[in-house]
Assembly symmetry: C2
Homo-oligomer: 197 residues x 2
DNA sequence: TGCTAAGCGGAACAAGGTTCCGTATCGTTA
DNA sequence: TAACGATACGGAACCTTGTTCCGCTTAGCA
């Protein structure tokens, strides 16, 4: 659930004052709404204005833009991570589980306008965002990859982190672009993993 | 030297004054050097300083940062475009020609720190850069793709532009990153194109 | 040797992220 | 319930980066 907004592993402590807690939630709500409308690159000032707070308030709750983005998508990243083992259990084969999970990840990325781009940016400001995604999801991917490799369905020489970054990269610029179907390209990539029977 | 420096298709006219021409060349040389050292995202001011000119001078010769980048890489993009037909003639099969050409393109991109990222950015400022690359290279790619599809070696449902963008995306963040081998991933993608014999 | 269009430099502007600090407010305590 | 100190707030100010503007300089021609 993560409902209480935090309490998770490396998350900042809940504010002591009720108004601060309210502002934090207003900020998360406003940011989520604006990210949908304008993408994750929306200016901090716009988010602050939508939440009815000053820019300083954003920075007290979220030390950088990247942390705000992480907080907004934390639930969904968690859900994606948790779907890994579930898919292993419910799929016909390890390869099918891998494909299903990657498809989930792709759906997540391409519905978040601009997220994929910011994720791969080598801009130091987004290092936190980058590592959060990777730390949480790479191990899940690694398990799926290992299982499929162990079953002899795919090559075993692709590092999980490389596959994740590749998939992430393929999702860049996919939102609402009629002549770029990221799903299809990721499909190609995953097909390329297969070993000949 | 950047020799003739222009005279190409849609290029701006050569300046009337000798000093202007010298500045333009100094700018191209300085930009090339800085792009190697700091990547294509280097600030305009740094490039101007390195060339020993004011920022205004950059903008007279290159209306935007993107046009400067285009000018710096024009030769290499041309060379890449021209390699397409050559590979078709010299390769064992259409599929081999396609693979060889894409490999050339990937080498070009990953040796240009940050170019791939800026290429795919949906930032309107780089639309010119984006379209220059696409206009010049997509037709070349299309021919290679068509030939391989006609020979029955690969699927025929992937639009050339999509493949190009996919390959470009996979090259993002590849420069000097030890745990991301873009060449390998592009190899996977191209392998995914194959039809079973 | 002048004249003038072409070209130059860099200050100024816009936009975006982040920091700072005086002020307002919460929540506790007397 | 009134006062007080810690907590939080707002938004002006700062920094960086792309781009524009404009008064001054100079190449090239007559």
């Amino acid at each position: 659930m993560v409902s209480g907004s935090d309490g998770g592993a490396g998350q900042a402590a809940r504010p002591r004052r009720a108004d601060a807690q309210r502002n934090k939630e207003a900020l998360l709500d406003a940011a989520a709404a604006i990210f949908v409308r304008s993408g994750v690159e929306a200016p901090v000032r716009d988010i602050a204005a939508a939440a009815g707070v000053g820019t300083g308030t954003i920075y007290r709750h979220f030390p950088t833009r990247a942390e705000l983005i992480i907080a907004v998508y934390r639930h969904q990243v968690e859900a994606c991570a948790e779907a890994g083992p579930a898919l292993t259990a419910s799929s016909a084969s390890p390869y099918a589980a891998l494909g299903g999970w990657i498809s989930l990840f792709v759906d997540f990325l391409i519905t978040k306008h601009g997220l994929a781009a910011v994720l791969q940016s080598d801009n130091a400001d987004f290092a936190t965002l980058h590592s959060y995604f990777l730390d949480r999801l790479v191990p899940v991917c690694a398990r799926l990859l290992d299982a499929a490799a162990a079953a002899g369905e795919i090559r075993s020489d692709i590092p999980p982190i490389e596959l994740m970054r590749g998939v992430g990269n393929l999702c860049i610029g996919a939102s609402g672009n009629p002549d770029y179907d990221a799903r299809r390209l990721v499909g190609l990539l995953v097909a390329g993993l297969r070993l000949p029977q």
